[in-house]
């Protein structure tokens, strides 16, 4: 595992292969929001690719989903660390 230098920026996961979000229009403009545009996950469809910082066995690394295509993947979202369920 490659150790990544850890800066102080608030690094976060990012969806890959998408155009940059359009500049926000006036508040009453039709809501062609990036929320809707970005929500592409559906059964039978390609899994949206992304890159995200990760913790793995004592170290920090980056995970790109498509780098693991070729295997079966179980992708699990959950509300938060230190929650109870």
């Amino acid at each position: 595992m490659e150790a990544k230098p850890q800066g102080c920026a608030r690094i976060t996961g990012a969806v890959l292969g998408e155009p940059p979000p359009a500049a926000p229009g006036p508040p009453d403009a039709p809501a062609t929001t990036r929320k809707e545009a970005a929500m592409t996950a559906r059964v039978g469809g390609k899994a949206p690719d992304f890159n995200a910082p990760a913790y793995f066995k004592g170290g920090f690394t980056n995970v790109q989903l498509s780098a693991h295509f070729g295997k079966w993947i179980l992708l699990c979202f959950y509300p938060g660390d230190f929650t109870f369920v």
């Binding site: 608030r10 690094i11 976060t12 996961g13 990012a14 969806v15 990036r34 929320k35 970005a38 929500m39 592409t40 996950a41 559906r42 059964v43 039978g44 469809g45 390609k46 899994a47 949206p48 690719d49 992304f50 995200a52 910082p53 990760a54 913790y55 793995f56 066995k57 004592g58 920090f60 690394t61 995970v63 989903l65 498509s66 693991h68 295509f69 070729g70 295997k71 079966w72 993947i73 179980l74 992708l75 699990c76 979202f77 959950y78 509300p79 938060g80 660390d81 230190f82 929650t83 369920v85």
Partner: protein, 149 residues
């Protein structure tokens, strides 16, 4: 997530890679592993714990809750072609059942191995009979499968 960590070897045996995602930073993931999960699961969390602080990934998968700023319990089974075969999304108070994820993975692996010639009926478990959709099966499912079995 501790339930998945605890049974991780079952998934490894099926050749499944696991990624967990939340809006916590990867630094907090480390603290959660070190201070709590490693006390529930021998050796700590065995899979990558991803950070999605801005909710970008969660939005792409339709599980980001804008009002609460958290990600719902979304579970996705992705096949080797990168295609989502199954998804399950629960609101926060109810946890998933790990065994059901394993069952679905096993069913999809069977279907894939058969190149789509086999299908699994409701409630199928490994070892149970499978269905072979085709002209001979039309109207004859009752001969090979009944709901109470």
């Amino acid at each position: 997530m501790s339930a998945v960590a605890d049974k991780y070897s079952e998934l490894q045996n099926l050749g499944v890679e696991v990624f967990s995602v939340s809006v916590d930073s990867h630094f907090v993931h480390k603290m959660w592993n070190d201070h709590e999960l490693s006390r529930m699961v021998e050796g700590g969390v065995p899979f990558h714990m991803l950070s999605d602080q801005a909710g970008n990934i969660g939005r792409a998968y339709g599980v980001y809750d804008e009002n609460q700023g958290i990600e719902l319990r979304g579970r996705f089974i992705i096949d080797p072609d990168g295609v989502i075969q199954a998804m399950e999304v629960l609101t926060p108070p109810v946890g998933r059942k790990f065994a059901e994820s394993v069952r679905q993975i096993q069913a999809y692996q069977l279907v894939r191995a058969s190149k789509g010639t086999e299908a699994t009926p409701a409630g199928w478990m490994p070892g149970d009979p499978v269905l072979r959709p085709g002209p001979d099966l039309v109207g004859n499912v009752w001969k090979v499968w009944k709901p109470h079995e």
